[in-house]
Symmetry: C2
Subunit: 203 residues, 2 copies
DNA sequence: TCATGGTTTAACCAAATGGTTAACAAAGGT
DNA sequence: ACCTTTGTTAACCATTTGGTTAAACCATGA
């Protein structure tokens, strides 16, 4: 028998994404998700059994997106330093498109670190890691960098935290008659690339 | 009649701090707080009327602590660049002592930005701002810096995000046979100071 | 010692919430 | 037309949870 090719599942996932992103696993309400999806609450359970399973799916999708932007690192045709610059750009692109994603990950990870580690491990196995690529570049004597892990942390911090703490920065900016918004995106990006150039020395 | 100088209020606030920090306003349970404080749940309401008021007190305390470390900036006896370095150190000291504080602020701010702005405004009025101090230094031609607001965002990102995303970084580090923990604190601090020195030019 | 009033508790309540059930609608195969 | 499977809903249930109440507790001043 042919199944009714219902879009319901997708509609639910979309709604759940929005609600979970904003309120987290505990804060989100099943009724709220059902309302946003325009369906009866029981349908949520019909499709996803329970809240946690629904959340898992949303979280899994978010994680996929989060790791998707790492693929640039594999492009062997580019010098490593270019790949790092692209990586940073993709990272910022990604966060510009899904600004809540970072904070969503942070929030849930801080609540349930074990679950996160389990979920991330499979992704991390399939995906290239910036650090591995850098280490490879060092071994091939293509680049020089003091501490790859520290570089990674610094870089990701520079890229991510402005999105995570945007509301805080907005208040601070307003207080100081400074600007902080889309207008600053270009100089923000430049500052990240400048940081990369300061840290990675081509040989 | 003399009031029993009860420490109950303080005991409750301590317990509430821990629970709210971990689970946030919505995730925290009054019973959980009462249990941790070793008292009856009704006492919470006796002292703080309701959950939101209790949360407000905890949040207010956290905010005070958060702004406390800004006082270095006012020490006119120091050159501005030294004050910035001290500011960064205090910032990291603070987050080392209260690692959950940053993520706690972020989480609650993202849920209720209006409330945060209201609460922060009073603090921000009484406290010096790094940006204001830097602007002052530029005007006095003591230092040169391209974009104070951008510098502020970059600096705070470098200092804060490693604490916010510590669980994520730990997983990444483990995957790459790298280290990320207390042992790296010194080189982490150095990287922040290095960033400051790269950006601020004394005249 | 005992009345007073702040402090603390057990028991309770109403609302919210995740989840279930049973009935119904729709759609396809025969 | 009729049956079977899938999709959808309203009504319901059990539990959780923030909050209330009334009574007990206990230090103190008279």
């Amino acid at each position: 028998m042919k199944l009714k090719d219902s879009k319901t599942e997708e509609v639910i996932l979309d709604a759940a994404k929005v609600v979970f992103m904003e309120y987290g696993l505990y804060g989100a309400r099943m009724q709220q998700i059902a309302d946003r999806a325009g369906i009866n609450k029981a349908l949520l359970h019909y499709y996803f059994r329970n809240k946690e399973r629904l959340f898992d799916r949303v979280f899994e999708n978010a994680l996929s997106r989060y790791f998707q932007n790492m693929e640039v690192l594999l492009d062997e045709s580019l010098p490593i330093i270019d790949r790092v610059h692209s990586y940073a750009d993709r990272f910022i692109d990604f966060l510009t498109e899904y600004p809540q994603m970072a904070i969503f990950l942070i929030k849930e990870v801080s609540l349930n670190q074990a679950l996160f580690e389990e979920k991330v491990k499979s992704h991390i196995k399939e995906n290239p890691s910036l650090i591995a690529v850098i280490n490879h570049g060092i071994q091939r004597e293509e680049i020089q960098i003091i501490d790859p892990m520290l570089f990674f942390v610094n870089l990701v911090s520079l890229c991510t935290y402005p999105f995570v703490a945007r509301p805080i920065f907005k208040v601070v900016a307003a207080k100081n008659d400074a600007l902080w918004g889309v207008e600053q995106e270009i100089s923000f990006r430049s500052s990240v690339h400048e940081f990369i150039n300061n840290k990675i020395k081509p040989l």
